[in-house]
Each structure stands twice: as structure tokens, then as C-alpha cells.
């Protein structure tokens, strides 16, 4: 039963995407929505991304220092491990999990409210492809903004690591710098960005799907928001395994 329900849901998602991923009816209106969504989904997320990344960068640095410090380990290992964690997992996967909560619920509740207040019906009656008009700009905006958020997250995490090193005097900036530069592979940054592009698509499309098919009232909108965050998170974690395996081989 659950399997059939999942297949049905996936089929509905694919049908919605077939309506979303078409040429916009009006490029002017698309670009207006796109810019609005860039601001709402991307620019508005920068403060939370910077804040969380700064503190997580600092915490990773403390944990590394406390847990792997030994006479056998060179001092730069703390910086090296901090960088690798930030680039390979935190700034792409964990940050996208956080964004699934913030941005995903925002998208679901916005589209869900439009559904229950008949705004989507109004568009359909006018002959507007409401799925394309509402969802495509959100997917494009989030996919376009996510690499910037990932880079900001990495940078803020590194700043957090320097800050905690300076404040607690647990390690010197020189040791941290050596660690951050040690065995640096540019490809890891690309991996992080590539993964985040997939995650951004998952967040925007799945959240919009849940919002678009809301039926009922405000309680259903709230339930759809919760469901969308859970689904986005599970899908991101699953995609993370697949993408990491493919990209890091």
C-alpha cells in the first residue's frame, strides 16, 4: 500500500515537473518572479547561512583540537580537518538540510496558501500555466543562488575557526593557515557546489510540489510544510550518498 502510494506521489511529482520545466509564457514576468525569488530565497538566506557556518566552523575547530591533538599529530591537522569537513559535507549537505527547513517551508506555505485562497485557480482560469509561472522561477533562483551560499558558508566557517583560535588562544593563526592550505584540492570545492545544485533542485521542486497539491485550509498548509521539510531532508541525505560516491571516486 505504502509502495503504491509512493509510486503515485512520484508520478504526480513527475507530471507537475513536466508542466514546470517548459518555456515561460512571458519572459518579462518570469524575470520579475525570478528576481523576487532570488531575493526571497537566496539573499534572505545569507544571514542565517553566515551565522550558522561561523559557529559550526568554530565548533569543528574546537572539536578537532580537543579530540585529535596528540604528540604524534602535527598542529596543522586541526585546520586541515576543519577545512575538509566544511568543504566536503557541512557547507553543501548540512547547509542544504538547514535550507530545506527555512526555504522549503517558505516555498510550501507560500504556494499552499495561494492554492487554498484560489489564487492558483485564478491563474489557471486566465490560461496561465501556474506551475511554470510559480515554480520555475523558484527552482532557477535557488539553483542559481546555492553555489554562492555554499561559498559564503565555507568562508564563514573558516572565519569562525580563525575567530575561535584567536579568542581562546588554543592555536595560532599560522598553524591554522598551514592546515587550511595543506593538500588542497580544488575539485572538492566543485564537488560541494555540484552536490548543492542537486540539493537546491530537490528543495525547490519538492517543497513546491507539496504546496501545489494542498487541499483544504490552513491546517493542511502547515501539514504540507512539515511533510515537505521531512521529504526534502530524506531526499537530500539519500542524494548525498549517491553524489558523494559518484563525485569522490
Amino acid at each position: 500500500m505504502l509502495f503504491i502510494k509512493s509510486i503515485n506521489t512520484f508520478g504526480s511529482y513527475l507530471m507537475l515537473m513536466s508542466r514546470v520545466l517548459t518555456k515561460p509564457e512571458s519572459w518579462k514576468m518570469f524575470s520579475r518572479q525570478f528576481l523576487r525569488d532570488i531575493y526571497q530565497l537566496g539573499i534572505n538566506s545569507i544571514p542565517i547561512v553566515l551565522l550558522i557556518s561561523f559557529f559550526i566552523g568554530a565548533v569543528i575547530c574546537i572539536q578537532m583540537k580537543l579530540n585529535i591533538e596528540s604528540a604524534w599529530m602535527p598542529k596543522f591537522v586541526v585546520g586541515y580537518a576543519t577545512r575538509e569537513i566544511l568543504i566536503l559535507e557541512f557547507s553543501s549537505s548540512m547547509m542544504c538540510l538547514i535550507l530545506a527547513g527555512k526555504v522549503g517551508s517558505n516555498i510550501t506555505s507560500e504556494i499552499g496558501t495561494m492554492r487554498v485562497t484560489q489564487q492558483i485557480d485564478a491563474m489557471e482560469i486566465m490560461g496561465v500555466n501556474s506551475a511554470n509561472f510559480l515554480i520555475l522561477p523558484k527552482i532557477s533562483a535557488l539553483v542559481g543562488m546555492i553555489p554562492i551560499l555554499v561559498i559564503f558558508s565555507i568562508a564563514a566557517g573558516i572565519v569562525g575557526a580563525y575567530a575561535i583560535g584567536y579568542v581562546t588562544q588554543m592555536m595560532t593563526a599560522e598553524d591554522l593557515t598551514v592546515g587550511l592550505q595543506y593538500e588542497f584540492h580544488q575539485w572538492y570545492i566543485w564537488c560541494s557546489v555540484i552536490k548543492s545544485l542537486f540539493f537546491a533542485f530537490i528543495i525547490a521542486s519538492v517543497a513546491a510540489f507539496y504546496g501545489y497539491r494542498v487541499e483544504g485550509g490552513s491546517i493542511e498548509v502547515g501539514k504540507a510544510s512539515t511533510d515537505s521539510v521531512v521529504s526534502c531532508s530524506v531526499l537530500i541525505l539519500f542524494a548525498d550518498i549517491v553524489l558523494t560516491q559518484l563525485l569522490m571516486q
Binding site: Q118, Q119, A122, M126, G127
Partner: protein, 251 residues
């Protein structure tokens, strides 16, 4: 002109519409009345194409929408305007942007011409002063008027109104009714209004169909409705003692 022929609609084992046929002429305000659950909204949704009837035809000037493909249906929808029960204005846009929306999406005119048309529509419904306000700043009646302006922006051939007076005081309801009626006459539109407001029935009902249990139980106009012998319709119209008294004195 819109003609519906032998419309049937079931939801599971429940029959909501049973062999409904009617003709809605242009230049007339056509009302669909009936108790809650009589099938008014389902009928309107079948007419506008938001629901597909199980059987029957919906003819827009002879064109059967039921057999239309996706593209033809989209093209037809550009000839329609609709006023929803709760106005359904886009809350991320100002009043002017709401009226501009269909023009921006589908009109080939220059921006100045579109703006001129949008302002004309807002002036027509006496809403030009509120053009920069957002929908949540407007009263229910103003939202309905703005929604009418948006509905007529593309000069539709067909106008649909779902419970236009719902949630409005009697005076504002009259204003909305008169606006719908005047616009229908002015532009010779085929207008279908779904209502259970008695003021609308007596005021603007050029053609009225009464739905009961998914079937057309009575058909006529606002003059004929007061003299009907249909018990079902009389029970619906004069459900309160006051209305019965007023009606009998007027007759």
C-alpha cells in the same frame, strides 16, 4: 453564448449533477441558484473547465470544451474572466499589478497601452485611488471590485462569478451586483453568477436556473420567480417569515 447539454457528474457513488442542460445568452446576467450542496459550484467548475463532466457537452459559441485539447483550452481561457468567492487577488502584487497581470501575460500591446487599459478597468470599478495598495489593505468589497477589474482586463467574452456577495454587507453586495450587471450589458458578455443571495436574484437575475439535488428544478427570470408555484423554489427563496411577508405584500 454558452450552452450546456446533458451534464452528468458523479463523485464516487454520489451523483452531483444529473442531466443538466441550459442556455446562457450573452448580454444577460445568468444566475445559478440553489441551496448549499445543490451542485452549483460543481456546475460552474464544469462550465469553466476546472472539472471535467462525466457526460455531456459544454458549448462556448458552439465550441465543445469537453473535447478540447490542452492548447485549445488555454486559448479559450484567455476569453474568460472569473470573480472568485474570496476575490483571489495575488497578495504579492499591488492592485494595479493584479490588473496588469493578465495583460502582461497575454497582451501584445506596449507597456503604456497595457497600463492605460489597467487604469481604465480600475476607473470603471471606482478603484483607481487604491491602485498602489496591496490586497490585504482593502476591504472585502474593494477586493471584489479589484478582482472584477482584473477579470475584465483582457476584454473577456465570458464572465464567471462564484458567490460574488459572499461575506459582504447588503449595500456593498448591491454595488457589486450592479457592477457585474452593468459590465455584462456594456460589453455584451455572457455572464454566469453562482449565488444564493436573494438581493442578487431579485436585482440582476435576467435568467435564473434553480438547482436542486443536482438537477434543474426551475428556470425563469426575476419577474417570474416571485410568481412561481414550485414549492421547492419557494421554500428556498422565502425561507424566513420576514421574507414571506415582504414577498406577499409586494405581490
Amino acid at each position: 453564448m454558452i450552452e450546456i447539454k446533458n451534464i452528468h457528474k458523479n463523485f464516487g457513488t454520489q451523483t452531483v449533477l444529473n442531466d443538466v442542460s441550459a442556455v446562457f445568452d450573452n448580454g444577460k446576467t445568468n444566475l445559478i441558484i440553489g441551496q448549499s450542496g445543490a451542485g452549483k459550484t460543481v456546475l460552474l467548475k464544469c462550465i469553466v473547465g476546472l472539472l471535467a463532466p462525466d457526460k455531456g457537452k459544454v458549448l462556448y459559441d458552439g465550441r465543445n470544451v469537453v473535447t478540447f485539447g490542452k492548447k485549445e483550452r488555454l486559448m479559450l481561457r484567455r476569453e474568460m474572466g472569473m470573480l472568485f468567492q474570496n476575490a483571489a487577488l495575488f497578495d504579492s502584487m499591488s492592485v494595479l499589478e493584479n490588473v496588469m497581470f493578465p495583460l502582461e501575460m497575454f497582451s501584445d500591446k506596449s507597456y503604456d497601452e497595457k497600463l492605460k487599459r489597467a487604469r481604465f478597468c480600475l476607473e470603471r470599478v471606482n478603484m483607481i485611488e487604491a491602485q498602489d495598495k496591496s490586497p490585504e489593505e482593502l476591504s472585502g468589497g474593494m477586493q471584489k471590485r479589484a478582482a472584477i477589474a482584473r477579470a475584465i482586463a483582457l476584454e473577456p467574452k465570458y464572465l464567471f462569478c462564484d458567490e460574488p456577495n459572499s461575506g459582504l454587507d447588503p449595500k456593498t453586495s448591491l454595488i457589486i451586483d450592479e457592477l457585474i450587471h452593468d459590465i455584462t450589458k456594456e460589453y455584451n458578455i455572457t455572464t454566469i453568477v453562482n449565488t444564493h443571495d436573494m438581493n442578487s436574484v431579485m436585482g440582476i437575475g435576467d435568467h435564473i436556473i434553480f438547482l436542486a439535488n443536482g438537477e434543474i428544478s426551475w428556470e425563469g427570470n426575476k419577474e417570474e420567480i416571485l410568481h412561481t408555484n414550485s414549492k421547492q423554489l419557494n421554500d428556498f427563496l422565502f425561507s424566513s417569515e420576514i421574507l414571506r411577508r415582504v414577498a406577499s405584500e409586494k405581490i
